[in-house]
Amino acid sequence: MRHIISLLMENESGALSRVSGLFSARGYNIESLTVAPTEDPTLSRMTIVTSGSDEIIEQIIKQLNKLIDVVKVLDLNDGRFIERELMIVKVKANAQYRDEMKRMCDIFRGRIIDVSDSSFTIEITGSSSKLDAYIESIDKAAILETVRTGASGIGRGDRILKV
């Protein structure tokens, strides 16, 4: 099953490679991994999207907790949470595609952030599956380039990950 794991870690050089190294050394999947400093510059927050059986996810959480630089780990799937990912996609917008691309962008509540005579650059946010759905919905031949940030997640309501 797909899990989103959030963690707070010391914002130190090498910390990221300790996490990514752990995943490769123990053969765990990483679907995506995003990291950036938090409002407290000594801390980084990382979101890892992974998948595995309950046993594997349990081991991943334990192994992450074992890393000396990791301050806190939370499996967002243990409760209610919100997930967002940003995708920027450049699509063909010549006469053949122009109207359709505008329409599909509106349907997925995207925004056109750059326009040329032959292309649109569209930003879309949402859960990773929504972004997948967008890609599925448009003509593959119209896609020129995509870039995705990987998912970020946060617990709903009182679920707070803080030191």
Partner: protein
């Protein structure tokens, strides 16, 4: 600049003094010349010059294993650090507290492919508990303090501190922190009281209770607590390779080592028990080769471990207790002292069954008039040393025979590489152990293949007058490799024959030691007696025992098989 400013190199040395380090095992080189200059000008610790950095780390590791204190190694950048990696990985797999200080090229040269540069922190990251690259002289003292703290607390392990050369030349004031706090690192010491109560009542009501003790008991200095507990509840107990000595082997309740080369009674009891208490052990593949087969006989498993990630990693645990083994065992003993232990009739029946398994005598072997049996050498070693030696070993058949035929009654006496299985550790392990215990008998049980992987350390032994007794079980084969080839590869002995062996007697003599070659069974005891006699008390003795070439280690559980699927020696 203030007058109490000292160089970064001196700060490193002062930190080691603050940590009351007695020995530093190392090898100098360009990036650590400043540190070595400071080593030269102090006399609070002794520097042990090895002949290869791998041995420096192994020796520091053995110092830690045999004393419980943090071992320290000092190596230079580049090849110094890469040579140390095998030693670091060995210590990591067995959770041994050591601190490795490595030199690095100057900060301004990092990333420039400088002479003797390598990404030491990157290379060692997967095999250390933690590592640091110190980029500012102000951070040296606090980093070394953290290194010692992290290495020795929680589940112990190696910690590496990489220090660029320019920082060791700069000057700064020395201020060693009194304590250290890491917000991201808080090992759990105290076990959950509810879980502990549940575990005890389960064990007391069990019909076929079993204790499975591991290296964590030795590392956690909990053997007297474990012994008290096991003797009070009266259950049988087995131990992993790493846990030997954690419970006295001469005790009737002890069933011997378990696992791939464990005793018949230990493996059967482990398989057939109804409640299992695992203490500081990790159900690794050499113990539980087949988790599914193991659980096919239903049992309730309690697991005490300081590392939460050890719990339910390979075998699903029913009652996990995360905590320091000594603390949890103390709690268990306290609870137990309040219980009225009734004479447990089912325990009697359980032992009856165990005695039947035991009566198979799975470790018996036939001595030969002409050929020296390796098991006989170990038994004789036990007799001659009255069971009171420190025994180090390399890796292979001789290691298993040492574990099987030298019963350990005390912890920290059996020094070997369990997790990584590193050939070559035996001699450097003996060095670290002998330095830590100068008056003790230290025997290095090895084979003609393993010993050649760190043979250069005979020179270190000469320099520091280490009177180690080397028991070389020379069967002219990489014995364990040959055994697997015999059992599983149709007797095709691919590259497992040791050709062109040196004359070990002359070799030992050329290093300034005493060499003996023993070819007859009747000479085994006299040779060992002479080696451990007062006459040779100050000397390293290399005993080259020419043993039976085809002897195998039994019992044996083939890779991936269940505990009750042992191969037993044919003549039993």
């Amino acid at each position: 600049m203030s007058s109490n400013y000292i160089s970064g190199a001196e700060i490193v040395i002062r930190c080691l003094h603050e940590e009351k380090v007695k020995f530093v095992f190392g090898y100098p080189g360009g990036a650590v010349l400043n540190i070595y200059d400071a080593v030269f000008q102090q006399n609070k610790f002794k520097h042990i010059l090895v002949r290869h950095e791998q041995a420096a780390v192994h020796a520091a590791d053995a110092y830690a294993r045999s004393t419980g204190k943090v071992g320290v190694a000092l190596v230079t950048s580049g090849p110094g650090a890469t040579n140390a990696v095998t030693g670091i990985a060995t210590a990591y797999m067995d959770s041994i507290p050591i601190v490795i200080i490595s030199g690095q090229v100057p900060t301004y040269a990092i990333g420039q492919d400088a002479f003797q540069e390598c990404d030491t922190v990157g290379i060692t990251r997967p095999c250390v508990k933690h590592n640091f690259l110190v980029k500012d002289i102000k951070d040296i003292a606090s980093t070394i303090k953290k290194a010692f703290y992290v290495a020795s607390s929680g589940r112990p392990g190696p910690v590496l501190v990489d220090i660029p050369k320019d920082i060791t030349a700069e000057k700064y004031e020395f201020n060693y922190p009194k304590s250290v706090h890491l917000r991201s690192y808080n090992p759990i010491i105290k076990g959950h009281s509810g879980q502990i109560k549940k575990a005890l009542s389960l064990l007391l009501s069990a019909k076929r209770p079993m204790i499975y003790s591991g290296g964590g008991v030795v590392l956690g200095n909990a053997s007297s607590q474990l012994t008290k507990f096991v003797r009070t509840i009266g259950s049988p107990i087995t131990s992993t390779l790493m846990g030997l000595g954690g419970f006295p082997a001469s005790d009737k309740q002890f069933l011997g080592m378990l696992g791939m080369h464990g005793t018949y009674e230990a493996n059967m009891a482990m398989q057939e028990c109804d409640v299992l208490l695992a203490v500081g052990a990790r159900f690794d593949d050499r113990v539980i080769g087949n988790p599914e087969h193991f659980l096919s006989k239903p049992k309730t498993i309690v697991h005490i471990d300081i590392d939460p990630s050890s719990i339910s990693k390979r075998v699903k645990i029913n009652i996990p207790i995360v905590g320091d083994v000594i603390s949890v065992l103390n709690d268990l003993n306290d609870l137990l002292s309040k219980e009225k232990i009734k004479q447990n009739i089912s325990l009697k029946n359980w032992f009856k069954e165990i005695e039947q398994w035991r009566s198979m005598n799975c470790l018996s072997f036939k001595n030969d008039k002409q050929l020296i049996k390796p098991q006989f050498v170990i038994q004789t070693l036990h007799k001659v040393t009255k069971g009171d030696a420190f025994v180090t070993s390399d890796v292979g058949q001789h290691q298993m025979w040492a574990a099987q035929y030298y019963p350990f009654d005390k912890p920290r006496r059996w020094i070997n590489s369990g997790g990584l299985g590193t050939m070559g550790v035996g001699l450097p392990y003996a060095m670290g152990t002998q330095l830590a215990h100068p008056d003790a008998k230290v025997a290095c049980v090895t084979g003609e293949a393993s010993i050649q992987m760190c043979i250069q350390e005979l020179s270190t032994c000469k320099q520091f007058h280490l009177p180690i007794k080397i028991i070389n079980l020379n069967n002219r084969y990489m014995g364990m490799v040959r055994q697997w080839q015999e059992f599983f590869y149709g007797n095709r002995y691919a590259e497992s024959y040791m050709e062109a062996l040196p004359d070990f007697v002359k070799l030992a003599e050329s290093y300034g030691h005493v060499g003996m070659k023993i070819e007859k069974p009747s000479d085994v005891e006299p040779a060992l007696k002479e080696a451990f006699s007062n006459k040779l008390k100050e000397r390293l003795v290399f005993m080259d025992f020419i043993t039976d070439q085809k002897e195998n280690v039994f019992p044996m559980i083939p890779n991936g098989k269940g505990l009750s699927e042992m191969i037993i020696a044919e003549d039993l």
